[in-house]
Structures are given as structure tokens and as C-alpha cells.
Symmetry: C2
Subunit: 221 residues, 2 copies
DNA sequence: GAGTGTGAAAACATTCACAGCT
DNA sequence: AGCTGTGAATGTTTTCACACTC
């Protein structure tokens, strides 16, 4: 056995469909009154509005967390979910575009609660530069690289109008940001090793609209 | 054959996974320069970053829209997508909660472009009542029923803090609103015949976070 | 008895590959 | 030759159902 034999991180692969539900389970646990100590897959399934076998299958990817005949310990479960989602690393994020949406995101307490720290707000509008939003000073984009290096920023949140979004994305990637959450209604170019998630408000409304005139059909996320 | 024999609307059922991509295709078509007249499944697939067989399969649910050896006519395709998504009905929407997020939504032009009309803004904060946002007057929630009846509001958009969201949802449903787009970070109760879609900003970030420390894994929407 | 963990089945979604039309 | 529409193959996700543990 060679000396440099490393401790190989076990690479359990969690299916994408499951990953999407893990934050949901975490949210459900937050909504339980704090004196409860355990929860069954059926209980959790009812809260999350999914099938109970689904919950058990999903959680089984994280390891053997439950106790047969008893259920899951809430504290353990929460810790494991946070660990698996990478919420204990304390990732830093910046928000680019400090309009109404950017401000809303800057004020949104849910990020801090979940372990994300917003460390910078960027905008090139002279009227906004140097103003304070949610306790942070709005900074021009030219300072972004400096900031990203200094705080080791992992996540960039784009809340600019559509026409600036691709340029901002390119700049973020240049600054070493490997994950982007995009709220601008444009399709960003894929870049190797960079994760891009887009949330398009109007697309959500359009999906809703499809199910609007057909009350028989059932929507699925 | 009875006199009241009705013209039965053919009930082609479109798979949920396809419905989620239709707005994406529509967005891709919008990004094409206006002098193009046709497009192939391969072209559209590249824009939408999906497989070309996927595009053909998805579009085939809308009918036989393409021409073998040629491709799809952009205008026809756009019309058909809009028709299928119910974007030609001109649904009316109201926004409840006029904080930063609500204001962002009210200003967001993408809704009007896509056929949705925001006809009311509601908030119970005395400081906001009667102020103007995006050309609309902020109105107290007590007037909501009157408004919803008057404008036949189909869609309610919830942009309040989490603690008010369920109450607002109940009220919207009482007012006859059958579709809700919820931005508050809480799980709303399911109600029969009411479509609820939730967009949770912090959940999106958590999903991104999962893929952050594992550059090998590939994220899928 | 209650409730997990998981094979096996069923349902759903994607992709291949090609016949058939222009 | 170029490109659609779609059976068939493959891959993924959900659900059932039950052996097993507490």
C-alpha cells in the first residue's frame, strides 16, 4: 500500500430528483414544534406532500438514519440533511443587480438561516453606488474580482435586467465563482465545471397557466 | 344522437416534464432574430440545451407541427405554444405583499409580454396603502374580494413574509382564485381544484450548494 | 404493533435509430 | 439530402409490499 494512499471520500451518488427534495424536508423539519423529538416517514411525507415510501427511499441515500419501529430522530436528520447539502461549509455569495429583486434577495433572511452569507452587493448604477442595502454597501462591478478573492465567494446571484445577465455571468466566472443562481429571464451559456440554475418568474407563471383551464389535470413539479 | 351532444375537446394529455419545457422553447424562439422563418429541432435543441429528439417528442404532443425535410415554422410554433399554455386567454393576476419582492414582480415586464395582466396590488401596511407602484395603487386586503370578482382574477401571486402566506392563500381561494404562485418560504396547504406552485429562493440555493463541493457530479433540473 | 429499508414492479422520461415525407 | 415523427430501447423515478428490527 503506497504512502500517499488517501482517504477516499465515499461517493454515494444521490439522484437529482432526491436532491431537489432534500431542502423541502429540511423546511418541513423547521415547521415542526420544537418539543417533538422524532418523526416517522409518514408524518414527514404528509408535511412535504409526497409518498411515504418516497421519503424513506430519499433518506436512505443519506445512510441508515432511522430506527425500525420508531422513526427518525429529528436532530440527527436535520444535521445529516445540512451536511449532505453542504450547508455547513458557510458558502459566501454576492448579489449582482440591486434593483427591487436584488434588494429583496439581500433582505431575505432565509439565506443566512440556511448557512449562506451574502458578502457583497454589486451594481453599476451611479445612483445606487455607495448606498446601503441590508447593511451592505453597493459596490461597482469593477471591484468584484477583488471581493470574490478576498471572501472566497462561491456563489453569484444574478438579479440584473436580462440584457446584462450574460456579461455579469462571464465576469463572475472570471472571478472564480463556480455556482450561479440566475433570476434574469435569459438563457446563460453553459460553462464547464460551473453550475448554473435559473429561476424564471414568468416561466413559472406559464406553467401554472397550462393547468389553469383544465381543472382535471394534475400538476406535478 | 342527442341534441345537446357537445363538441368534446380532444384531451391530449401533455406529460408534466414536457409542460415544464414549453415556456423554455417559447423563450428560445423569442431570442431568434426576427428574419428567420423556420427552425429545425436540432437548432432549437441547441438553444434550449436539450436533446433534439426531446424537442421533436415534446412538440409532437402539440400536434403535427413540423414539415419533414424542412423543420418547424417559427410563427406557427409560437402560436401553438402560446395556445397550449393558455397564454392567449389574457389571465388576470394580483400580487399580495408589496415589499421589495412584490415591487420587483409588479415592475417585471415579462408578465405582460407573456399575456398576464397584473390588475391589483394588495398590502395591509398603512405606510404602503394608497401609494403607487408600477402604475397601480396599493390596496388593503379587505378590498380583495371586490377586485377579484370585478376583474375575474385567475392567478394570485403571494410575495408576503412567510407568516402571512397561508392566511393570504386562504383569502385568495375564498375570492375564487384557482391558481397561486407562492414566493413565501412556507408550504401552503393543498386545496382541491386549486393549483399551487411555490418558488423558494433559499431552496434553489441549497440545491446549488449540493453540487458545489462535488465538481464531478452533474446537476439536472 | 409500529415503522424502517429495500427488492421488485410499475410508471414515467429520455434517447436511439430509422422509416417516411419534402 | 435533410429533417420530422415515432416505435423500440434504455434510463430514471415512484410506488408497492414485505422481511426485518425495535
Amino acid at each position: 500500500m503506497p504512502l500517499d494512499c488517501a482517504l477516499v471520500k465515499e461517493n454515494r451518488k444521490i439522484p437529482p430528483a432526491t436532491v431537489k427534495r432534500l431542502p423541502l424536508y429540511l423546511q418541513c423539519l423547521d415547521q415542526i414544534d420544537s418539543d417533538s423529538i422524532g418523526i416517522s416517514s409518514k408524518n414527514l411525507a404528509d408535511l412535504a406532500k409526497v409518498n411515504d415510501a418516497q421519503v424513506r427511499r430519499d433518506l436512505s441515500y443519506l445512510g441508515t438514519l432511522g430506527t425500525r419501529g420508531v422513526g427518525y430522530d429529528i436532530k440527527t436528520l436535520r444535521n445529516q440533511l445540512q451536511l449532505e447539502l453542504g450547508l455547513v461549509e458557510g458558502w459566501s455569495a454576492v448579489i449582482v443587480g440591486v434593483g427591487n429583486l436584488g434588494s429583496a434577495l439581500a433582505h431575505y433572511g432565509g439565506f443566512k438561516d440556511k448557512g449562506f452569507g451574502v458578502v457583497g452587493l454589486f451594481d453599476d448604477d451611479p445612483k445606487k453606488i455607495n448606498s446601503q442595502v441590508a447593511g451592505l454597501v453597493v459596490t461597482p462591478l469593477s471591484k468584484m474580482e477583488e471581493y470574490c478573492k478576498k471572501y472566497n465567494v462561491a456563489i453569484g446571484i444574478i438579479a440584473t435586467p436580462g440584457e446584462y445577465a450574460q456579461g455579469v455571468a462571464d465576469q463572475l466566472i472570471d472571478c472564480g465563482v463556480r455556482s450561479i443562481l440566475n433570476f434574469a429571464p435569459v438563457l446563460l451559456k453553459n460553462v464547464k465545471d460551473v453550475q448554473i440554475r435559473s429561476v424564471d418568474l414568468s416561466q413559472e407563471l406559464q406553467i401554472l397557466s397550462y393547468y389553469l383551464d383544465r381543472p382535471i389535470l394534475k400538476a406535478v413539479d
